[in-house]
Symmetry: D2
């Protein structure tokens, strides 16, 4: 039996305490809800712990990251409060092989922006009137397995193009909204030895992380993001010897 | 001054004679309308001729293709009437460096299917109620230059995902429809020495090829598709000599 | 425990009988050697059978393909003897979700050419003097897990660029040869619901399929190619109802 | 006649003064040599100026960048001396639409690393014994037009894989070296509204920028990198109105 995937679910942990509307949807916090969904979906295939912004070193010490195969990230109100040093540490962990699942407003986290190299800006609207449809455009991708086509979210925030990201290595999902907007909502990348998946839905004002289809996608993504090889940061090597010179 | 781009606008030329509704929208035929749009947009930058299904060799002799830098293709009702030999000839011309602009229902042409290797199937609806919005997702791409974001087509046929194509080398446009569906509507590929662009809008029942934004995209696409190098079919070479063996 | 991956190892089965040199390297045939390697590498994770050109329907009936998760293909001397109908059947199986591992001279098989849409031509030399080095360029890809960097093959046929293929969705390996040539030797594609991996080494005149690193790559590729979802050919759907019209 | 492309050739300008060997190859400095090559290749199609590290604001004020369509960058010994503020300014200019040609050791410049999001590390050797062959793998790409296949550089520094970059949007060239190493040496990316091309050859100890084939590639790259649309940094938009809500 393979080793369980060690998942750390990171939460900003601000809205759940500040906003009554969010508290009602996520009384256990967003990160504990996501963590519980993963445990329910994947059972002994995963070992899930949580971490959050207000912990020392934002909960992401070198030791935590060294023991994390896949990190999920949700943040929105306090991107600036993540220490630069921590953001760089997470970036290095991804480059070394750790998987990163960037959720919804994590598009504007320091970590995601550093990994993309673009502004990661987008269009948005959140007035409680938009319905989201998430369409699969890469039906053979592991992250799309068992996902309804389309996946229907009755109410969600709208994110619209232009989403300023590098073209994904693999585009898995595209969303439409009631207002007619579209968005590349499932985007897979490789960075160094690690993989990154961006998944759009999950605004704090809507019960998205309670949705079965969303839980399925998050569980699929965690499996896809788990590394196959030992962790190692790509480094400069001086190949002084022309080892293969003589044929 | 650079040589003009030699464009051949190919039309199936069936609906325009058979269907009164189409005749009214395109009294000069669809291909002559597209050709006129290109001449108006690009002036002396292009030399545009037309060809159609009912001509000998479907209007696409070796000589015509040898003198075509960019071929635009519209077909729908009579894909099966294109001779296999002609479809293969066009495929070879693309592999040799000719550009191909596949328009709307050309997704199911013999030529496009051969170049993609997939079924090219999709979802559709044409009941006169759908509005299409074409969103740019690659704003620096030459084919998106000067195109409104979104481009609005008041009425069009709906094409929806799953569109069974290889992931585009560059995805330029995504459409949404009133029914909530989405579609990868501007897809750029390289095949051999040639380039292929698929552009979705253009059902025969709607006046799409009279639309300024659509004309702009078609003109941009023709410029992007024009080859930079002399035509040559990739071929097997026996490199018997190890020419660079001694360093 | 997950179901075993059902692998069919297809062999052309010509050189092994005709050429004494090949018979000596592969006394059990090439396909039985590849199959034995897979069984040794993956144990109960796979169920491996073989099929070959000279069987009825080239060994690839509808029933065989319906019960194959991953098909590996080696052919060279007799590409033209594969029935068109069989090649189309394999293409449809891939589009439906079956994985395909195209080995070495399978670049010129009917199946691979149909799936690529290009000529698949290349440069070559086989005079017994070339050493091949296979370098990993996507170190986090599952197919590269545990593979030496570079993987050294003391003697192999040379394949050189230009290899006329669509740009791979993911390029995993690049080879160099003693003559200074390079080749994209590990190329991953999605086609429909299925995946395709092309792996270059494996000329019949060299003992490549006995090499541990090669066996590792083939085992990794089989795991990556196995489908995650039930098989289904992408098809046209008429979405007559605007199901999501009312927001 | 189209407006000329405004090119700024940026040079680190250190080796040319410090190292006698470099001074002999590039008595006019590397950046002036590159600039002269561009003027000779492209004539009135370009307006070329130079800028260098030791100027105020490293020669790259907001005004200079606002009037630059394409920036070429060569640096090696003093990456750390480029002000962070200047590197960020250049990054924003690229995201806004300016083209960037990153030359050789610019892989380790602040600007390139920020745009890639990876470590950009690689293997290397520079002992005067390596011959480089640059092979075209995307023969229809504008940057490959008129380039010999392979392009032969008698002596160059070796750069080898793993080159830790995101998979290029388009891979145009692959190099091999006498030691058997390979390298993705021509890599095209889009970032925001801008384009980036990385071109490997050009170590200061070899006369690479005097080479006709290299000059051809640099001229081709400048043309490909020039923007087609007005400059604009992608920004967040609040689409408060559901403008296309009523179908």
């Amino acid at each position: 039996m393979p080793e369980p995937i060690r998942v750390t679910v990171w939460g900003e942990n601000v809205h759940e305490h500040r906003d009554q509307s969010v508290k009602e949807i996520y009384p256990e916090t967003m990160h504990e809800t996501i963590a519980a969904g993963l445990r329910a979906s994947l059972g002994t295939q995963v070992e899930v712990r949580t971490a959050w912004l207000q912990q020392p070193e934002n909960g992401l010490t070198e030791e935590v990251l060294a023991n994390t195969d896949v990190l999920t990230w949700w943040g929105h109100a306090a991107h600036g409060d993540v220490a630069d040093e921590v953001a760089e540490r997470v970036q290095r962990a991804v480059q070394s092989g750790m998987g990163l699942l960037a959720l919804h407003s994590a598009h504007f986290s320091k970590v995601f922006i550093k990994l993309m190299g673009t502004t990661c800006s987008l269009d948005w609207r959140s007035d409680g009137t938009d319905r989201e449809l998430v369409w699969t455009v890469s039906p053979g991708h592991p992250i799309a397995a068992g996902v309804p086509h389309p996946l229907l979210l009755e109410r969600e925030e709208m994110y619209g193009e232009l989403f300023d990201i590098p073209q994904p290595d693999e585009l898995v999902f595209i969303s439409s909204f009631s207002g007619g907007e579209v968005f590349r909502s499932g985007c897979a990348y490789r960075r160094g030895r690690g993989r990154v998946f961006y998944f759009r839905p999950g605004d704090q004002e809507y019960p998205t992380y309670h949705h079965d289809g969303v839980k399925q996608i998050i569980a699929n993504a965690v499996k896809w993001l788990a590394p196959d090889s030992p962790r190692a940061l790509p480094e400069v090597h001086h190949r002084a010897e022309r080892e293969w010179f003589t044929p």
